[in-house]
Amino acid sequence: MIDLILFYIGVALVFIGGVMDILATIGFFKFKEFYTRLHAATIGSIGGGLYPLIGVVFIVLGLDIDYNLKLVFTGTSIIAAGIIALATPAGSHILARGVYRSREESPSVIIDRLGEDLERGEME
């Protein structure tokens, strides 16, 4: 009984992750600028990567396969989920900083105080 509940919780988590992934792709096409696309990238990486990997853990725990196989799938999924949850937001911030400082794209804001400071050479 508990196996059946675990299995369907896992399937529901993976399904929700896939739906959020498709929503994130729609967001990538709706937003026209780099700095607003960062929001859609968060949905695509956390909602589309972290939730399904946790869901795979639940699916494997309820499934009728070998014990060692269960152990390997659980450990790899948890480690990959941890790497995604830690590394993807940090990578997005590093990328946004690099793109802003290199003037690859200018943000569509009214007053850009950080840009003025960078022009005067105060913040290095």
Partner: protein, 93 residues
């Protein structure tokens, strides 16, 4: 214990969801104007492919196929750092 055939009935639906997301992300990567938005779309694409690779390993029921998941997940961070350093070095020159 839930049998393996139950999973085989559910798995095509899940894999098709992630495959559709992979196609649309790829179109976004191929049609992006600047380098920054292309790398941002590649991040989401590779995270999507990691989940797809775990599902393929679950379909084949083999633990050896999981070996590429963790390096691929950390390659995302490496690509971000390398591209950001490249852009900043160009500006300071």
């Amino acid at each position: 214990m839930v049998s393996y055939e139950t999973l085989l009935g559910v798995l095509p639906v899940l894999m098709s969801l992630f495959t559709i997301a992979m196609i649309i992300y790829s179109i976004r990567v191929f049609t992006s104007k600047t380098l920054g938005s292309m790398v941002l779309a590649i991040d989401a694409l590779v995270v999507d492919l990691v989940v797809l690779m775990v599902l393929v390993a679950l379909y084949y029921k083999s633990a050896f196929l999981l070996i590429g998941v963790i390096p691929l997940a950390s390659w995302v961070f490496l690509l971000d750092v390398v591209v950001a350093r490249y852009l900043e070095k160009r500006w300071s020159k």
